[in-house]
Assembly symmetry: C2
Homo-oligomer: 316 residues x 2
Amino acid sequence: MDVARAAGVSQATVSYVLNDRPGSRISEETRARVRDAAERLGYVPHAGARTLRTGSSGLVLVALPDIPQGPLATGLIEQLDRELGGRGYTMVQYGARDVKGVAAAKAWAELRPAAVLADVARLTGAGIGVLRAAGVKAIIGMGSKGVGGVPSVLTDHEGVGALAVRHLVERGRPEIVAIVPREEGIRPMGLERLRGARSAGVPVRAVDLAFDEDEAAAFVASLSGGEGVFAYNDDYAMLLLAALHDAGLGVPGDVAVVGCDDLPLSRLTRPRLTTVRPDLSVAPASIATLIDRLVRGETCGDVGVWTLQLIGRDST
Amino acid sequence: MDVARAAGVSQATVSYVLNDRPGSRISEETRARVRDAAERLGYVPHAGARTLRTGSSGLVLVALPDIPQGPLATGLIEQLDRELGGRGYTMVQYGARDVKGVAAAKAWAELRPAAVLADVARLTGAGIGVLRAAGVKAIIGMGSKGVGGVPSVLTDHEGVGALAVRHLVERGRPEIVAIVPREEGIRPMGLERLRGARSAGVPVRAVDLAFDEDEAAAFVASLSGGEGVFAYNDDYAMLLLAALHDAGLGVPGDVAVVGCDDLPLSRLTRPRLTTVRPDLSVAPASIATLIDRLVRGETCGDVGVWTLQLIGRDST
DNA sequence: GGGGGGTGCTTATACGTATAAGCACTGGAT
DNA sequence: ATCCAGTGCTTATACGTATAAGCACCCCCC
């Protein structure tokens, strides 16, 4: 290769120097010459060739779930990127959101990543087999329940519902309504949150709702007053607040509303929105550690992605 | 390789069959045997090895700008992914958001992508040189102004300001205030939008603002009434609507407000928010075409990423 | 029956890398 | 003088792929 030629040494020497492999006996003078040549020529290692030779890459492939990402998920991914970078990995996000199962696994496997972090909805048993066969060391699911045979990063949606409902009951609202969004991608999480809401020990009326002002108005018209509504998340909560305002119902006087996510915008509603805040601050480090362990061949169990906290504001 | 062994043919035959290279003379019977073996063994090609051999990959690397991504940008990336997938490319998003210039270029170049689509803030002349030297065929900037020597995808921030201010003037607000956000990542765009606002021919007062309720309250207290405020985007517009509400000022009676982005949530404010909607619907296809052309060695000019439309609602 | 032109494959090679193995010195210790 | 143990390198190889080049066979034509 040309760095070798420029430095007047063999290609092997270049490799020893640039990776400064412990135990290799290259004089400091030669090292300097090699490093200088590499710098001058703008040498960049070829990740593919390295992967081919060593049989493993430092690539971590993150296959996002196919729902619109809010600031929470975006921040998590960003911090995870930092954590992985600090451990010598290269994180990359892979889209192709409508592909799943074996087809998705094959696409991911082509890049021969060291790790794949994928939405459980896109990971099937056969897909995991494909990844394993391609030498992917760490396969990790992301979702509310694990997928067979691989460790998962678990999102506790039931806890959201339970916490919200407990709060509403504490605030004197024995009559609970839980919104279940009708949108394709998030509906399963809505059902999990509903299950959690129902685990709190009080009867919960479930209401399907699209993110639509007319539907929200119709729902609001069905309220008799006095209910506590768990709105799935802050977006739906803001939809409801608008509909309640239009209907002339007072919040929290007539109806109490609690959301989830603690979006920056949710502080701007009048009344200010009570919400369940998922704390994702430890997740990046724990996911990165999980990946690192699996790549090193250790076995690991599931990790939780968040802890939940109720932020009481003016809507309950 | 083992597919070859399983099918009882040479590795070259496998390659000819699986890529069905035109002009290769392999019997249909052998082809079937090879394909069957590949299927049975769950064969997945090794992208790195292919890149090594052919000297070019089908990888398109997208290096996101380091600002929190809203639904607009997310949707654009998602659609671009689809477009590129349809043309045989593999799109991947690369984070490491705090790195720029040569360091970033080296990190990107390791993957030997066919194309790099990067925020202009992270592309420097030296960085472009590194990418070129590593054989990246298509280097494309993203931002409000081009970067030397490479085609760019241009976001017309000045147009946003100009359109918003023209609308405010039409609605009878000769006294204009433009908010310039103080947040690190978006401030440059705020300044561009301000410049556009000032190009409309009326005097514009610029106000620096952090995304903070107290600052917003202080700003609102400084208003004399009658102003038209261009709030940079819908988030800031919602911040202002809350502050105006708290101060007892009527919208649009006392103050008119216009945002930008047409966020789903911006329809839920009362009054409903007037906003500038960037139409990104043609961008994915045109960016994909641009990439494809550059990879094929053609030369191309800049493309615009959006057209702007004013959505008049109740806040102006 | 000998040549010519398909047809259906195989053999060989290079891409850039990491690393095992080897090789030429040098400087003691025997 | 001989051997041994470093020291500082080089040579050779394999990873999985694409593809040029070659080779054996068959069929047809003169």
